[in-house]
Amino acid sequence: MNKRGSADLLSIDQNNSKNASSDSLNSDSKSSSLNSKIGQELNLSGNESGPLLLNGERVQGVARDVTYLCPYSGPARGVLTFTNYKLHFRSIDRETPYVVEMPLGAVSRIEKVGGASSRGENSYGIEIFCKDMRNLRFAHKQENHSRRNPLFAFQYSETFSENGWNVYEPIAELKRMGINNDMWKISKINDTYSVCDSYPAVWAVPTAATDEDLQASAAFRSRGRLPVLSWIHPESQATITRCAQPLVGVGGKRSREDERYVQYIMDANAQSHKLFIMDARPMANAVANKAKGGGYEAEDAYQNSEVVFLDIHNIHVMRESLRKLKELCFPTIDETRWLSGLESTMWLKHIKCIVAGAVKIVDKVETHKTSVLVHCSDGWDRTAQLTALAMLLLDPYYRTIKGFEVLIEKEWLSFGHKFQQRIGHGDEHHSDADRSPVFVQFIDCVWQVTQQFPNAFQFNEHFLTTILDHLYSCRFGTFLCSSERERVQERLKEKTVSLWSYINSQLPLYQNPLYWDGPTHQLVLMPIASMRYIKPWKSFYCRWNPSMRQQDPVYQRTRELLVQKEQLKKKAEECRREQAVRTNARSMNSAGQAAPRLHSPVHS
């Protein structure tokens, strides 16, 4: 931690604690957290004249005499405002105005409730089903439908002190890992995205491989997604590479070129003469894929390699699982069936499976110094989860705020996780089979690891929640489009603001006070993938429920101690100076005593 004043630290503390209890999406507007109380969805953003607007945000429509049907505190009458970014409701019939805000990007679908013949109070209106684990119901008298304008990111014009688009430089990141080296080189064969349109422009591949080898391997891999480097161990040179499934098919096709190329990857690691191919899918799914032309590597074709199935289910299973979880968490929780209810959603079991898979990869790379090739079907969902999580466990750099941003940029964005389809930005087809919470699941896994290693991460929970909020909000360009190629085409870097600009301009909000770069911080993390430790991430999934909102007292208390330390440090310094002056004055007579040294094993 740098030389921030104690006052700063305290104010951060306050901000954070308030954010925890108010709508986290509004954490940036300072006024929004005033007067917020625990257990109330209370938020004073804006005033009677309307909501606070972001730069580039414009009011699109206002509906008066609307009733918000809060599942916790009952109906509230007020004004509903639509902007090109968000929906804003402000009550008029309560002493302390009651405010609900939601970015339009988080809307999954809108349903009309009731018809022309509906009788009774609050029986006619709309229900908004959100992607962020809540539903909002509004009742109103007359028809009032505002079309949403999905991609606010293109209108958003805030400027930040940091430019988040510069966070990730592919070549710089490869250089950080020591590439080029003897065995690995940087290849720009995909400069124009002609070899693989869902891959980044810059790859690291084995030095031994020629461009023809790469072309040939791409031809044998689903969607041309051939094995390229994700991470290399700084000492053993064991690597994690990623790709899509081989196009084996029912006939059991082979590609000598692909086999040879995989051999290069194995050979690039002198420590081991074996390669583990981690197929993220359950074996049955991998076999079933043969019918569609896919499949997995036959061990006799790929010499010295061993295929391991990690049993992670596909996007449809995950979508269904999260739907059940939302049902369980929103709006209210049935305490008597909470634990078994959790189990029946299967969500935690899926999370456990992914963490277990990542630990397996880490074990091979770290303990056995063996390289690992990871794939699933297309190599952009489960593969990204596994490689990114394994890298997070292996490399402390990714556990810093900037490092984590790099990790997301690299393993998720540049390698073509289909954010557009998985999230459905600006897309009305809420039942689209391509939607799936794959990235949410990854962030959940990261959260699980932070729970087991509370000192190992520079970022806090608020950082993770903020990323997920803006995954949906469409305020920033970061999660728009599905591949690097599309982002270049759409000129997102010029036209939109990066989420990392926003985050990196207010870093203290996202810093973990427990982060400790002490002696163990360089270590590889080996989380325990047991259901006994995998927990529901309540502060994310249940955060709209006022009874579930908890402050994080450990963080607060640690912050207090850190503040005290800063103050004492200053004081000690003053004393030392004083003493030094006195000693100097006396040094005429006696030999000057050394001023007391600051003893501090912790560099926080």
Binding site: S340, M346, E574
Partner: protein
């Protein structure tokens, strides 16, 4: 001897011996390292006999052994589950044929004694002075006293700022149908309230009883002491529903809820009576004008069980003094030991068919642990303290937790045939080094919170807000050790911070004396890699990766997984 929760393929060989105090395993092998928390009385491979909960015979089938059951002449192996959930597997494969049987017979005989055969200490006595409401005359008191069991009249024990008092009373003797005396006492308590408010009655939930807690704990033990890796993985598959089935958290939740309700009424100035369903109500404590009644279907010993939990929880929520180590100790002495909680019956120190075993004290400690989780800066003690306290209830050398009542203790103490040894659990130095005792102190504790208006705490008591106490329940399962991780890391970090603070204070001339204890401890902690179960983990379990758990998925019950993944097409 085998590693807990393993395949039982490789073990350590050694000598198994039994004394009238402990079962001890002596090995020549070097790998059996000591545990971090070094107990002066019991080594890492020692089991105090009163800690033994169940003994199973391992052979083709696991069979539970009880006293009186004849032991087969050939014993292949035994599996012991302790009351603190530690498990032991011993095999007699390489020993002489009769050995196993001999050990087992001795174990069965000594582990489940029927009398207090041990040497006891007597330390705390009934106070010679008691405090009662001012309006009560001595005559009334004496008259009333014999209506209460054990002739114990109401005794004042605690007051809050506004003068509201907590009064402890023994239960009304069941044989006396006349409620007059009780009513006189109630009237006096009512009169003592400045506003003369009549108490309000809250019915204590009927779904908690000694039996249900006992059953619940048995289930919890089952869940937390798997005898093999196979069982461990099997439990993984539906851990959450198994946990729900134990109903343990439900009981914790209930105790917390009742305590919170009592506190709320208290704050509102409404007197409270907690009452059971069958109107065999037993007056146990009065807080200000708030009477806590608890009754149970089982009359035996009631009023000294759940009342202990609720009244000591209420005081913990209301009075910051009890959240200090000294205060907590006095609270337990007052509300549990002096109040006559039948520790001997509930902890099953003696083999007695008439008594009901149920770890109510553990239930209470679990409630306290939940509070510590929700209010980490409000308690002077750590979870290590609570876990150690629980462990200490099974060390039969200490007299604190082995009697059913003060009366039994007095009786035992004055028994001329028995020699008396004065040993209290609270004298931690009997068991532990200064270093280990230092770990009882919570580095996040903020004493300042005690003075603030926030001195009352109000926990969330819903099951969804509770957690499983992993240090206490999981610490003997090696697969669950998180190396360099766990909540311990927070504690260690805070200790280092406090250490820095202390040092800086000296530098800033705010303090003159070095607090060397903290200093030593944190330097010591810094030097070793502490894991999630420190200080209860074995030192040797330093850096091994627990591989079995990673191969767990293939045994996963396929039918549990949605079949959807196979059916959907785009995969």
């Amino acid at each position: 001897m085998f590693e807990p929760v393993s395949e039982s393929k490789q073990g350590i060989s050694g000598l198994l011996a039994i004394t009238n105090f402990k079962l001890t395993f002596v090995t020549a092998e070097e790998n059996v390292d000591d545990i971090h928390q070094q107990n002066h009385l019991l080594g890492y491979t020692d089991i105090c006999l009163s800690n033994v909960d169940n003994i199973y015979l391992i052979g083709d089938k696991k069979r539970k052994l009880t006293t009186g059951v004849s032991v087969p002449s050939k014993v292949k192996g035994i599996f012991i589950v302790c009351k603190n959930l530690r498990t032991w597997s011993f095999s007699f494969k390489f020993s002489d044929i009769g050995d196993g049987r001999n050990i087992l017979n001795a174990l069965l005989h000594h582990a489940f004694p029927t009398k207090h055969y041990l040497l006891f200490a007597y330390e705390y006595s009934l106070s010679e002075y008691i405090i009662v409401p001012a309006s009560v005359t001595d005559d009334q008191l004496t008259k009333a006293a014999w209506h209460f069991q054990g002739s114990r009249p109401p005794i004042w024990s605690w007051s809050n700022d506004s003068g509201a008092a907590l009064v402890k009373m023994a239960e009304l003797s069941i044989s006396i149908p006349d409620r007059t005396q009780e009513n006189i006492m109630l009237e006096n308590i009512r009169k003592n309230h400045p506003k003369k408010i009549q108490p309000v009655i809250i019915e204590l939930n009927k779904d908690i009883s000694i039996k249900s807690v006992s059953y619940s704990f048995t289930k919890l033990v089952e869940l937390c002491s798997p005898d093999s890796i196979r069982q461990f993985i099997h439990q993984e598959n539906n851990f959450y529903s198994l946990l729900e089935n134990t109903k343990w958290l439900k009981h914790v939740s209930l105790c917390l809820r009742k305590s919170v309700e009592a506190c709320e009424e208290l704050n509102d100035g409404v007197p409270v009576i907690l009452q059971g369903i069958n109107h065999k109500c037993l007056l146990i404590s009065v807080i200000g004008n708030f009477l806590i009644y608890i009754s149970f279907k089982i009359a035996e010993g009631s009023g000294r069980d759940f009342c202990c939990i609720i009244s000591s929880l209420v005081q913990l929520l209301l009075d910051p003094h009890f959240r200090t180590i000294v205060g907590f100790q006095s609270l337990i002495q007052k509300e549990w030991v002096a109040a006559g909680h039948p520790f001997c019956d509930r902890l099953g120190h003696l083999k007695n068919d008439g008594s009901e075993k149920a770890p109510l004290f553990l239930l209470y400690l679990d409630c306290v642990w939940q509070l510590c989780q929700q209010f980490p800066a409000y308690f002077e003690f750590t979870e290590t303290y609570l876990t150690t306290l629980w462990d200490s209830t099974h060390v039969s050398i200490f007299e604190t937790f082995i009697f059913n009542s003060e009366r039994d203790r007095v009786k035992a103490a004055s028994d001329p045939t028995n020699q008396l040894v004065l040993r209290s659990v609270w004298d931690w130095r009997e068991q532990f080094s200064d270093h280990d005792i230092q770990l009882f102190y919570n580095p996040l504790y903020a004493p300042a919170l005690a003075d603030s208006k926030l001195h009352q705490i109000k926990p969330n008591h819903g099951i969804s807000n509770l957690e499983i106490w992993s240090q206490c329940y999981f610490r003997w399962i090696p697969h669950l050790i998180i190396n360099n991780g766990g909540k311990n890391q927070i504690e260690m970090y805070a200790r280092l911070l406090q250490n820095d603070l202390a040092q800086l204070k000296i530098d800033a001339n705010e303090a003159t004396v070095t607090s060397s204890n903290i200093d030593q401890l944190s330097t010591c902690l810094l030097q070793m890699n502490i894991n999630s179960f420190y200080p209860f983990s074995n030192k040797s379990s330093g850096n091994n990766v627990s591989t079995p758990i990673m191969n767990a998925s293939f045994i996963m019950n396929e039918s549990m997984i949605d079949s959807q993944s196979l059916l959907t097409t785009t995969d």
